[in-house]
C-alpha cells in the first residue's frame, strides 16, 4: 500500500531528521540506510547525481532530493494522516516562507557559529540568536508553528535542536538561556514520539561534528 520506501540518510543530518519525523508522523514503514559521511557511496551518487547529498527519499525506486521538497512529497502522498501543511493557500505560503527562513538563517548562521573565526564568528552567534528570537515572535502563544497541530515548520526546525550542543560547545555560548520560549517549544515537540525517536543524540551529533570540522579543515 505504501510501496517501497527507502530513506538514504546520515544519523546526524538535521535534514534527514526532518524526513524521519515526517515518515513517523504518517506511520509509513521504510528502510533506513545510513551513509558513512563524509565518505559517499556510489548508491548516493546514483540517487542524487546533481547535489550528491543526503537525505534522499526513494519511493518505489524513484529518488526525491532536497529535504523540504521531500517533506512536501511525503505530505502529498500520505495526505490522509497528520497533514503537515495547512489546507489554506495563504497559510501554506506562510509555512513555506518560514521553512525557507529556517534554511537560510538557522542553518546558515548555525554553521557559521563554528566555521567562522573571530569577528565573523561573534557576529554569526549574535545573528543566530536574533533569528531564533524572530522565530519566537512568529510562534507567539501558539503551541506549535503549525498552530494547535505540529506542522511543516515545526518539522523543518526541530532537528536543529540536536545540533545546539555542538554549536554551543564550539562557539562558547549558551542558546537556551537567551531563547526560553524556543526551549519550551523544543520540549513540547520532543514529547512527540516521532520527534524523540528521530532526533539524533546531541553527544553523537557533536562527535560527528568534530569529524566534519576536521574534514573541512576548521581548527
Amino acid at each position: 500500500m505504501d510501496g517501497e520506501v527507502i530513506l538514504l540518510d546520515a544519523y546526524a543530518s538535521m535534514f534527514g531528521m526532518r524526513l524521519r519525523i515526517a515518515l513517523a508522523e504518517k506511520g509509513v514503514k521504510y528502510e533506513y540506510r545510513e551513509e558513512n559521511l563524509p565518505k559517499k557511496s556510489p548508491f548516493l551518487f546514483q540517487m542524487n547525481p546533481i547535489h550528491k547529498k543526503v537525505p534522499v527519499l526513494i519511493h518505489n525506486g524513484k529518488p526525491i532530493c532536497e529535504s523540504l521538497i521531500a517533506l512536501q512529497y511525503i505530505d502529498e502522498v500520505w495526505h490522509d494522516k497528520n497533514p503537515l501543511l495547512p489546507s489554506d493557500p495563504y497559510k501554506r505560503a506562510q509555512a513555506r516562507l518560514w521553512a525557507d527562513f529556517v534554511d537560510q538563517k538557522v542553518h546558515t548562521l548555525g554553521r557559521k557559529t563554528w566555521s567562522a573565526k573571530g569577528e565573523e564568528q561573534e557576529a554569526a552567534k549574535k545573528e543566530f540568536i536574533e533569528a531564533l528570537k524572530v522565530l519566537e515572535g512568529e510562534l507567539g502563544e501558539k503551541p506549535y508553528f503549525g498552530g494547535e497541530e505540529f506542522g511543516y515548520v515545526d518539522v523543518a526546525l526541530i532537528p536543529f535542536y540536536s545540533w545546539f550542543h555542538a554549536y554551543e560547545t564550539c562557539g562558547n555560548f549558551k542558546i537556551g538561556t537567551q531563547c526560553p520560549k524556543f526551549v519550551a517549544w523544543t520540549k513540547r515537540s520532543m514529547q512527540r514520539e516521532s520527534v524523540s525517536k528521530s532526533l539524533a543524540d546531541p553527544e553523537k551529533v557533536y562527535d560527528f561534528f568534530l569529524i566534519l570540522k576536521k574534514h573541512f579543515g576548521v581548527e
Binding site: 521538497i69 512529497y73 502529498e76 516562507l97
Partner: protein
C-alpha cells in the same frame, strides 16, 4: 483588511523574480494592479508589506501580502487551479520543484557572479554556469518546455536564461549559451521567447544592457574597495 481587494503586484521592471510572477498571472489570465517600486529607494508600502526582506516581488491578494517569487507561484497555482503550473502527480511535482530550485539557486547565482566578477572568479563562474546548464540540458531531454508541451513551473523560474543571460553575455563578452553544447536549451529559449504571452512581457533589451552594465560596474568597485 477587507476581502475582495483583488490582486496587486509590487515589482521592479528588470527583476527576473517579478517577471516570473507576471508571467504566471498572465498564463492564468488573472487581472492585477501593478505597482512599480524603486528598489534603490524603497517605498513605505513595500517596507510595510515585506518587513522581513523589503524585496520585490510582493503579491497582495485580498489585502494579504506574499513575498518570495517561488512561494508566490505556488500560491497562485493553489488559488487559481485552471491552467496548472505544477503537474498533478506528486513525483512530477517534486521533480519540478527540484529543477526550479536548481535554476534559481545555482544557475542564476553563477550567472550573476559571471557578470559581476573579473579574472579567476569570472572564469570559475562561467564554468559553473555551463556545468549547471548541462544538467538542465539533460533534464529538458528533447521536450519543448520543461513542463512538457506547455509552459510550466520550471519554465517560469528558469525563464531568465532566455532573455537575461544573453544580455549578461553581451556586457562581458562571454559565451555561456553555446548552441552546439546545449541544443535542447537553445531550442527551448526560442520556444519560450516566441510564446505569445511571454514575448509581450519582457524588459526592453537596451534598458537591460544599460542597467546591468551599471550594476556590474558598481559591484566591481564595491568588491575591490572591500579587499
Amino acid at each position: 483588511m477587507e476581502e475582495n481587494q483583488g490582486v496587486k503586484l509590487l515589482g521592479f521592471w528588470v527583476s527576473p523574480y517579478v517577471l516570473r510572477v507576471k508571467w504566471a498571472l498572465k498564463l492564468k489570465g488573472i487581472e492585477y494592479e501593478y505597482i512599480e517600486e524603486d528598489v534603490f529607494n524603497k517605498s513605505p508600502l513595500l517596507l510595510k508589506l515585506n518587513p522581513v526582506k523589503g524585496q520585490v516581488p510582493v503579491l497582495v491578494h485580498d489585502g494579504k501580502p506574499i513575498p518570495e517569487s517561488i512561494v508566490i507561484l505556488e500560491y497562485i497555482d493553489e488559488v487559481w487551479k485552471h491552467s496548472p503550473l505544477l503537474p498533478q502527480d506528486p513525483y512530477e511535482r517534486a521533480n519540478s520543484r527540484f529543477w526550479a530550485k536548481f535554476a534559481a539557486e545555482k544557475l542564476q547565482a553563477y550567472a550573476w557572479e559571471a557578470l559581476c566578477s573579473r579574472g579567476e572568479d569570472h572564469e570559475r563562474a562561467i564554468k559553473a554556469s555551463m556545468e549547471a546548464l548541462e544538467k538542465m540540458e539533460k533534464e529538458l531531454n528533447g521536450k519543448k518546455f520543461f513542463g512538457g508541451d506547455k509552459i510550466g513551473f520550471v519554465d517560469l523560474v528558469a525563464g531568465f536564461i532566455s532573455y537575461q543571460l544573453p544580455v549578461y553575455e553581451e556586457i562581458v563578452s562571454m559565451k555561456i549559451l553555446d548552441s552546439s553544447k546545449f541544443p535542447a536549451i537553445t531550442n527551448w529559449i526560442n520556444n519560450f521567447l516566441n510564446h505569445p504571452l511571454i514575448k509581450e512581457e519582457l524588459p526592453p533589451k537596451h534598458k537591460m544592457l544599460a542597467y546591468f552594465s551599471n550594476r556590474r560596474n558598481v559591484i566591481l568597485v564595491q568588491n575591490s574597495s572591500n579587499k
